[in-house]
């Protein structure tokens, strides 16, 4: 009896504890799947009458998948060589799912890919070289939209996106402060930006920061919020003459004084200037928390917010405008955009490229572009004003002139620099670590200088990405 009960108790204990290894089960099943080698099975040459079937994966709901499939059906009907099938995967699990499919050699032929995955997948030999894709075309994607690995283009962004500044017009009118400039040559310096933000920050007695009797504990309206999601911080290090990395992403520059100073300036908006609400960079809903919540007069973020949330708020009466970012030394905005890639496991890379080239024409993504979520990738939409009108002159957007200047022109100006994940490997790991390093900087428990210099070696190791 004694032994039996002990054994039973032991087993229960073991079972309980082993429960934690739940996630391990997935790994095990993955491990038993064939490795990448298996994909090199003999190629089946399609007969003339049979169409080549390719699959294209995208992130989004099943509903969104249906919409894209309808577009693909148009492509399928337009020629007799290629048949595209669309596979929609929810955004949250997208990269995990791709990774699992890669392990099982079941990747689609082509698909969308998150910004921070492209260079890493390319470095692991998972992507096909697409440099020949636009040979002989009359309009090419903007130069800043090519992902490169070791200098060679490995993918093009499916969309163009830039950072800019939104502001609440009612708050500016009420405070009698001129709107922030939408033209790049009139961009505010950082000091001008902070000065305007102070005038727009009110405590419950209507006092502004710097005035006698101002109480930073009872602020009812903040002047500004600079998004401090890690990847967006790169823009501020660049504008101060620093950066996250060197020009080819092989070395880390975050430890330089200019970079550190820029990050501290962003933190000081809350800590010293008392013009910004506290944000510790944990959630990606900056515009909802600031402009849409009606608590902040100016906020920086990506242009996609026009389509994802601001157009609805506009219908409900929010009067907002768009402006270029303020600058410290150089005028900078980041541009980015999830990629469309051809996987090297594909047996039909030519057909996959053919499809991507057709699909990335703006007409085929019109829903996303006209709502303001995506911007076109081909340069003609920026250079030919008739096309720009077709794109921007609709009620989803802020007034045409404002948007044209603060977004369309801004995106093709010299200020627009590609986010580092266009050419840098292991950005996910680096950004995760940097976010954790900066956690106590936003609340003022430590300074950017201390936090970064203490972890500089670890940040450099993250950039090298040892497995």
């Amino acid at each position: 009896m004694k032994a039996g009960k002990k054994l039973g108790v032991g087993l229960i204990a073991a079972a309980l504890v082993f429960g934690v290894i739940g996630c391990g089960n997935n790994n095990e099943t993955k491990n038993t799947a064939p490795s990448g080698e298996a994909s090199k099975s003999p190629e089946k040459t399609p007969s003339k009458t049979e169409k080549v079937k390719i699959t294209y994966s995208m992130w989004g709901t099943a509903e969104e998948g249906k919409v894209v499939q309808e577009t693909a059906d148009k492509f399928n009907a337009s020629q007799d060589k290629i048949e595209v099938e669309v596979q929609a995967i929810p955004y949250e699990n997208y990269m995990t799912k791709l990774n699992t499919m890669a392990t099982a050699s079941q990747l689609p032929d082509a698909g969308m890919m998150r910004e921070d995955g492209v260079v890493q997948w390319s470095s692991e030999g998972m992507l096909t070289d697409v440099s020949a894709m636009y040979e002989g075309s009359d309009s090419k994607p903007l130069d800043s939209l090519a992902y490169t690995y070791q200098g060679k283009p490995v993918a093009y962004a499916a969309t163009n996106e830039i950072l800019l500044m939104y502001y609440n017009k009612d708050m500016f009118d009420k405070a009698g402060v001129p709107y922030p400039p939408s033209a790049l040559d009139k961009a505010w310096t950082w000091d001008e930006f902070v000065a305007a933000a102070k005038k727009l920050t009110n405590d419950k007695n209507g006092k502004h920061p710097g005035e006698d009797g101002f109480d930073s504990q009872s602020i009812v309206q903040y002047g500004a919020s600079v998004e401090n999601l890690t990847w967006q911080l790169e823009a501020w290090t660049l504008t101060n003459g620093g950066g996250f990395y060197n020009d080819d992403g092989t070395d880390v520059r975050i430890g330089e004084d200019a970079s550190v100073e820029a990050i501290q300036k962003v933190a000081d908006l809350y800590l010293k200037d008392h013009v910004a609400p506290l944000s510790v960079g944990q959630t990606d809903d900056g515009i909802q928390r600031t402009i849409i919540a009606g608590t902040v007069a100016m906020a920086t973020n990506g242009q996609w917010n026009v389509g994802t949330s601001l157009n609805k708020a506009k219908e409900e009466g929010l009067k907002y405008g768009v402006a270029v970012l303020p600058y410290m030394k150089d005028k900078v905005t980041l541009n980015t955009g999830g990629a469309n890639v051809v996987f090297s496991q594909s047996k039909h890379p030519q057909e996959a490229m053919e499809w991507l080239k057709w699909y990335t024409q703006e007409e085929n993504n019109w829903g996303l572009i006209s709502s303001g979520i995506w911007m076109p990738v081909l340069d003609k939409w920026y250079k030919d004003e008739t096309l720009t009108h077709k794109w921007v002159d609709n009620p989803n957007f802020p007034p045409y002139d404002e948007y044209k200047s603060a977004v369309v022109d801004y995106a093709q100006s010299s200020a627009a620099r590609p986010a580092s994940w266009f050419f840098t490997n292991h950005t996910t790991e680096f950004n995760t670590l940097l976010a954790s390093v900066l956690g106590d900087v936003w609340t003022g428990k430590t300074t950017a200088k201390d936090a970064i210099s203490k972890n500089l070696e670890a940040l450099k190791a993250a950039n090298k990405g040892d497995k």
Binding site: M1, K2, G4, K5, K6, V9, A13, A15, L16, V17, F18, G19, V20, I21, C23, G24, N25, N27, E28, K30, N31, G36, E37, T96, N99, T100, A102, T103, W121, E124, G125, M126, Q217, S218, I219, Y222, P277, L278, S279, V280, G281, Q282, T283, A293, T295, T428, T432, L433, A435, S436, V437, L438, G439, D440, W442, T443, N455, A458, A461, K467
Partner: protein
């Protein structure tokens, strides 16, 4: 001597045939355990000795991952501390809270069924909704708690945005979520024989004495069960980090399971993540073993000391 031996032998024969039936009945459970738990566990151990990313072929690198975890990993130390800190706060908090509520709900109070439901509801609400709700309460600038604080003239507390307060704040949510413990405690309290209480009352024992010397010993097996369940669940904490804090600020809420998730499914360092998994396993096993070892001393078993 012989007179004693004979009946014992007979008893053990019956016992062994019963045991045989028992083992046969256990086969399905063992099959499940072996194929769904133990073999995958071995698989995890195997993968933890490779540099597998899921994309390229794994290479065997021996104990390199483990060495790295204990020498250069920028997260693991703070992660272990945060997890244990969270687990202790949550376990102690939710045990006291749920026992207290269970005792109140065990009394003959009006609308008892309604209140029982009220305290159980948090446990069945979808986790994402709960954390969104609490994020509004905790929000550093305009959150409800800070509104209350500023109304009574106090300075703002940053709650989950401050690395000092994030773990206690998250533990509070986990205590509030402990409706399942309340239900189990209630069931235990209802099994405390009334006769003991009546006898003690006649002997002049007051409420606290009766609670201390009758109620607590009677429900000690229930306390043990709840303690164990709550400890394991809280050491495996991951949802608040995923839905509220992303492990921050800094690493202050980078719980071990979240760390493992991040390594495996965000950074795709599967070999490394498996090594982390084994360290989590070792810590969990350690805590569980300590709990079982010390349990004999304080668990009161009505059927006598049958161990």
């Amino acid at each position: 001597m012989e007179t004693f031996n004979k009946p014992r032998q007979r008893r053990s024969r019956i016992y062994s045939s019963e045991a045989r039936v028992a083992y046969i009945c256990l086969i399905p459970a063992f099959l499940g355990l072996i194929f769904l738990t133990y073999l995958p566990l071995l698989g995890v151990l195997g993968i933890s000795m490779t540099n597998w990313t899921g994309l390229t072929k794994p290479e065997f690198i021996g104990l390199h991952n483990y060495i790295k975890i204990f020498t250069t990993d920028p997260y693991i130390k703070e992660s272990i501390i945060a997890t244990i800190y969270f687990a202790i706060l949550s376990v102690v908090g939710s045990m006291i809270y749920s026992l207290f509520i269970a005792i109140l709900l065990n009394r003959k109070i009006p609308a008892r069924g309604f209140f029982r439901a009220v305290f159980y509801v948090p446990f069945v609400l979808p986790a994402a909704a709960i954390y969104v709700g609490w994020s509004w309460l905790y929000e550093a600038n305009f959150g409800f708690f800070n509104y209350l604080l500023s109304e009574i003239g106090l300075n703002k507390v940053l709650f989950i945005a401050d690395s000092r307060y994030v773990v206690p704040s998250l533990s509070l949510i986990s205590v509030w979520l402990a409706g399942n413990l309340i239900v189990i405690f209630l069931a235990g309290l209802q099994n405390v024989p009334v006769v003991y209480h009546e006898a003690a009352e006649m002997d002049g024992a007051n409420g606290w004495k009766r609670f201390r010397h009758i109620t607590l010993p009677s429900i000690s097996p229930i306390i043990f069960y709840n303690l164990l369940m709550s400890l394991i669940a809280n050491l495996q904490v991951v949802t608040p980090a995923l839905s509220l804090t992303n492990g921050g600020p800094g690493n202050s809420s980078r719980f071990m399971t979240y760390l493992m998730y991040d390594q495996a499914f965000v950074n795709y360092k599967l070999g490394y993540a498996c090594a982390t998994t084994f360290i989590i396993f070792a810590i969990l096993a350690g805590f569980t073993a300590v709990l079982f070892k010390t349990s004999n001393r304080w668990i009161f078993s009505e059927g006598g000391d049958d161990k």
